[in-house]
């Protein structure tokens, strides 16, 4: 039986359960998405967009899917975080508000902010959810998004009404947990109305050393003149597989920062698509990956400039050691008529061991003439003269290497606009380079 078939059977068998455990707007797209998935199957490596990561293999494990939404018996607790933030969890795919955060929910909802479980909101406010659900991550465009739309039941929902500024960052800790191999289908929906502001820190973690596959689709709508920060930190274990889609739509005058950091993982495939639908938008997209052992990190990005006078800046950095594999595939599309577009893309990679592999594919597709676009990509090793300079000043080789590595990735970290988060992540990255950060349990972002 093909891998697809087992999921198709599950879907057919549990169709009613899926309906029962989600709201109407989510269920409305389900059949179309399933039909599309059934027709396409999982993407193969023969497809340009999935050249470097084998999706079939990722989904081949016999995972458990908690479709009946059996409550987790595990007593999930987390210490007060080191940063001052609104703290929430998504465990596998279920939104979870820790008791100490309940006051935050009340506080934010008083301001008119809708925040909480996507499933809950799709039942209580179906119109609001239906207006946005599936409009950025459109089903029929990608088999993984189809798969997610077909199986999605819950996730995080945030709606910030116009002119509302959320003062503190929202920290969303996504944990894959379970004592059998698990597949979690998480769906997040974030909407910022005109001139709203929000910052989200999404931490992806795992508990337990089982094979865990997290299939996450996050849709973000950034209204006119709204400002949105999206930081993602992945720190999981070597058996963990993460397939994440982040689809953002930007309206006129909006500004976004997306920063995607991978410290520890097994196999990660991130796809970020930003559609710039309005004029005078600012977009910053950056990411960093530190890989060793057999880590596999694939970042595929697409920035679509549909409208004139927008600026985008993209920066990705990889540090690869041992047998780690890195892949960066970044595409910038400038549509016909998108004049005065400025789009810059940079990808820099360092390979530290003979068995590390790096695949880079920076694409530009430009259909307008009055634009300024560039991309630069390089792969190399640490500058020997810089290393020599540091050693000649009495810094031991190991320490000098570490310093240079840290300096190498620091401009990605500079793209974090929350000081406390920046400091915390700097510390984590330093620990990571020193080998003091094993994986999830000790990262401490959520402790």
């Amino acid at each position: 039986m093909s891998i697809e078939q087992s999921y198709i059977d599950i879907f057919k068998q549990y169709r009613d359960v899926l309906k029962r455990n989600s709201g109407a707007p989510m269920d409305a797209l389900r059949d179309a998405a399933f039909e599309s998935f059934q027709r396409r199957g999982f993407p193969t490596r023969r497809m340009e967009a999935y050249q470097y990561t084998d999706m079939k293999e990722a989904f081949a494990v016999d995972y458990g899917m908690n479709l009946n939404r059996i409550a987790l018996t595990e007593d999930f607790r987390c210490e007060v975080p080191g940063i001052n933030a609104y703290l929430f969890y998504v465990v596998n795919d279920t939104f979870f508000c820790p008791p100490e955060s309940e006051k935050y929910l009340i506080e934010l909802r008083k301001k008119g902010v809708s925040i909480g479980s996507l499933r809950e909101y799709s039942e209580t406010d179906p119109e609001l959810v239906a207006k946005y659900y599936g409009k950025a991550a459109v089903c029929g465009t990608d088999a993984i998004i189809d798969f997610n739309t077909a199986f999605a039941q819950d996730g995080f929902f945030l709606h910030v009404p116009k002119n509302v500024v959320i003062d503190k960052p929202i920290q969303l800790i996504c944990v894959m947990s379970g004592n059998v191999p698990m597949l979690g289908t998480q769906r997040n929906l974030i909407v910022l109305e005109r001139s709203a502001q929000a910052k989200l820190l999404l931490c992806a973690h795992t508990r337990g050393e089982w094979e865990q596959l997290s299939n996450r689709v996050t849709e973000v709508f950034v209204g006119e003149n709204a400002i949105y920060d999206h930081y993602k930190l992945e720190n999981t274990h070597s058996k963990s597989i993460s397939v994440a889609n982040l689809n953002i739509r930007q309206q006129s005058g909006s500004e976004i920062i997306v920063n995607d950091l991978t410290l520890h993982n097994g196999l990660t495939r991130n796809r970020i698509q930003i559609d710039i639908d309005g004029e005078h938008c600012q977009t910053t997209l950056s990411g960093m990956a530190i890989g060793d052992a057999k880590q596999h990190i694939d970042n595929t990005t697409l920035i679509n400039h549909h409208r004139p006078n927008c600026k985008s800046r993209e920066l990705y950095k990889y540090v690869l050691n041992d047998e780690a594999t890195g892949a960066f595939s970044g595409k910038i599309m400038v549509a016909e008529g998108a004049f005065k577009t400025e789009a810059y893309q940079t990808d820099r990679n360092v390979c530290m061991s003979p068995n590390a592999r790096m695949y880079t594919k920076p694409h530009l597709e430009i259909y307008a003439d009055d634009v300024k676009c560039s991309h630069g990509a390089s792969t190399g090793r640490i500058d020997e003269t810089a290393l020599f300079y540091l050693r000649s000043r009495g810094i031991p080789e190991e320490e000098a290497r570490m310093l240079l590595m840290f300096a190498f990735v620091s401009d990605v970290l500079d793209n974090i606009r929350i000081e406390a988060v920046k400091d915390k992540i700097r510390m984590l990255v330093e620990q990571r380079f020193r080998g003091e950060l094993s994986h999830c349990n000790s990262c401490g972002v959520c402790k």
Partner: protein
Amino acid sequence: MNDNIVDTITKGDYKYGFVTDIETEVIPKGLNEDVVRLISEKKGEPEWLLEYRLKAYRHWLTLKEPNWAHLSIPEIDYQDIYYYAAPKKNSPKSEKDIDPELLKTFDKLGIPLEEQKHLAGMAVDAVMDSISVKTTYRENLAELGIIFCSFNEAVKNYPDLVKKYLGTVVPYTDNFFAALNSAVFSDGSFVYIPKGVRCPMELSTYFRINAAQTGQFERTLIVADDDSYVSYLEGCTAPMRDESQLHAAIVELVAHDRAEIKYSTVQNWYPGDKDGKGGIYNFVTKRALCKGISSKVSWTQVETGSAITWKYPSCVLLGDNSVGEFYSVAVTNNYQQADTGTKMIHLGKNTKSHIVSKGISAGLSQNSYRGLVKVSKNADGARNFSQCDSLLLGDKCGAHTFPYMDIHNESAIVEHEATTSKINEDQIFYCNQRGISTEDAVGLIVNGYAKEVLNKLPMEFAVEAQKLLQVSLEGSVG
């Protein structure tokens, strides 16, 4: 920018669009094993070559046309093509025996075929439709031990050499068009430079498609033995016709220890008219094998013609310390589409590659750079630098870059840079201020932009290429 100027440029005429009225021998349209046998028979080929063709043909049947390029290729009916066309009066004994019409053709093309043109100091092999018409200067070259002849002659006179190298760089299994070519190739050029010989003159081939509804499938094989050097030029033209014609060639280069091959192309196949009607489909497989240590291969191309270009001259850097270079200017106008670039495969230690690609798109054309730099596990100390710039003239055209970098070695340094922009208004204004018309200014700027590549061309070609650039973009922005 002035619309009229863009119009004038885009209307730059194709001056090689004449048809020569030469009696041509063709075989029936279509492709099957009998046609392959017939071609082989007409050429009087040995059994092993026929076997090779048949193997390639059978393999071709199992393949599908590649569709990954950023091109929209109309469906090609491979049974509606003449696979063999030859000027009837061929195998001339001396210049006097050459069909005068043919001589006129080459005169129009400006090929130094005649005695007087010997001053130009080029040895020329001219391939019309599928037949190599004339190879000049052969005797002078033979004194040095250099073999420069048509492919067909090489098969007859130097079968061991051909057998040894044919298909070693581009096997018939390589891709759809390579398999097709391997099955039906009709002629081409063969060059062998013996050990330690520096070829004293530029070797050159002119390709011309003349007969209607024919495809041209030539094959070039250049072998440079230890410590040798050769510079080879290739030029192409075709008549203006309403229907499109297929050109699927293979070029194989082999460089042994410390040998250097410089391969330059000025490609000016008929690009189709202003409405995108007709034109040549240029689907070419070019690859060089830097087999020996410290060998060097340098590709230089100026691509101004063809309705659709699908071409990736590549270097396999097998020998330690070998060097691969790729310099390209690709101009597209009207409805032209180009997907061109290079592959640099680093296998040996301390191998170096350098890529400079300049794309210029105007009108409604699409111009893409597609390149691969691959550093294998054992290629310690590999070094690559790539630069690909695009210039857009007009708001209906597209410029795209698709570089791939696969790095499997930690000591490699691979860099890639690309920019896309239009001609700066300030620069035009600056020139205007100094009394240079906008048209001239654009010409000046485009030429300056392409200079880095044009400088790599041999003298005679550089002049021609510069003129071509001007014709292709005449009156346009530049």
